[in-house]
Symmetry: C2
Subunit: 341 residues, 2 copies
Amino acid sequence: MPQITLHDLATKLNISVSTVSKALKGYSDVSAKTRKAVIDLAKELNFTPNIVASNLRTQQTHTIGVIVPTIVHHFFSNVINGIIKEAEKSGYMVILLQSNDNYELEKKQLDLLIKQQVDGILISLSVETTNFEHLEKVQQIGIPLVMYDKISDAIDCSKVLIDDKKAAYEAVSYLIRKGYKNIAYFGASLQAHNFSNRFLGYKQALEEFRIPFDDSLIYICENNDEYNYGYNNAEQLIKDHGFKNVDAVFAVTDVIAVGVSKFFNTHSISIPQDIAVFGFSNWFMSTVVTPALSTVNQPNYELGKKAIEILLEEITLNEAKKEITPQKIILETSLNIREST
Amino acid sequence: MPQITLHDLATKLNISVSTVSKALKGYSDVSAKTRKAVIDLAKELNFTPNIVASNLRTQQTHTIGVIVPTIVHHFFSNVINGIIKEAEKSGYMVILLQSNDNYELEKKQLDLLIKQQVDGILISLSVETTNFEHLEKVQQIGIPLVMYDKISDAIDCSKVLIDDKKAAYEAVSYLIRKGYKNIAYFGASLQAHNFSNRFLGYKQALEEFRIPFDDSLIYICENNDEYNYGYNNAEQLIKDHGFKNVDAVFAVTDVIAVGVSKFFNTHSISIPQDIAVFGFSNWFMSTVVTPALSTVNQPNYELGKKAIEILLEEITLNEAKKEITPQKIILETSLNIREST
């Protein structure tokens, strides 16, 4: 069934389109009787005002584009949850796109969002992204842009993130203070802003406690299969060093840490008696694995909520033709100490 | 910076708007020289054709509305992943809304999607939904509608789901054949189509093996905090029956099963020696908890993929003004037997 239009209503009632339009908007120059007739017919026929046509007038679509590297990861599910709930409250809908950590796809998706005339864009960068022209283009067109989590300093826009270096520094310092000295680092691609900062935090803690940096303790996961990477490299770690020469593993994600724990659990290496394991994110499952995982508590939901709040402010400023001053919001992290350390 | 329009290009080049438009579309009645001048300027100014204006002509928005009860649940993250990847391939974008299992919100969200003139809608119903007028309205307006996972037989549209009754029947039959006789049922709201069918599957297995149904072994989780529900009701189960009088727990979600396992693990009740635990969904974490969880393997990603495929077919039929014949697709499940049984 084709969608009912203003024109259909006008024809059926034998009045002009502009009278129908005025009646629906409650203008006073339409008689109460005509107004009632229009509204009754509109209800009867399930008439819905054409938002595409009205968008054309107001130049607003009340949609926001959100690009995430990956959805399945528990961290991003929570971030999206925060974004969608907050957008909903303000009457905005979210177009969600997933870059799969692929630069070309991210570029294409930004073009699609521009064509779709979204009112604003939230992006967490793909790990591959080292060229930022596609983001500059968004800014040149005048669409408010906010980055969250995986950001780049190359673009002057608002950003919402955590202090990854500080969080990693605090986690590793905690391990050192607890007496762990030979701490392996299980990382992910150093190309990503957040992971390279976690690495710097690890190094800073070692330096401060005058523990020599040993690069044979550094393992970097280059793909997205973090769980198996954690499992397999725990095996490699034991082959390389023997479990008497390693005290602890600091993993840059909980998924990696859970893979590490699974290997130790199934090979009779006791956590934390033989080796301690520290994760990052406070992913839901970090509480339910045995032993429960010590981890960095990352405010996932709040991160999404804050990012969309700032974007909505900037959309309002943009519509009022007022200047936007980029903000950098750093959310607090904390340590959740559980059984694994 | 306001968005560049066809009119801006025409003014700067001192030619007509229609010449600019024809040049961009590659029409042959514009000279090569003019065409080049238009394209060069369009590139220089980051000109993007106005999709809202062109939507008005084609009546297509190339957007699809997707309503999920909740995003954080690993099951729905995977389903969304399947939907978004498949939509992307066909040039469609996904507006994602979350009903939080709330009927009023679901109703409001469908209205928003209608106003946004999406080309089609995918919905998994909120657990509260027992009135279906809002869905009938979508159909009356003529927007293709496909239900997935949490469906209702009250609406005649295409549906993609699993056979929940059969899957639960197979899981419980497996437990019985393995010698477990006193099997507790840890369920979720029977109001939801899928959970009531899992309950029927449980009962069918008992009947077939002539095991009397004992309603003191039935525990129903009425809220969304499945993990704590599983944990707390495992405690209640032991209080009610003592662990010698219960052989196994069949939980209708992996999250519940993981909560149950955590309680047993931390209270020295051995899985599966004292009590076996069976889950449902093959959630990622079911493999990493200790002991690894036996579970029903639910094809999450495929479910999302199939649902969007059918919707895209129906959108094509709809645009060609051809009739849509509703399909009901039942995807296969299987049992993943691991250490917990």
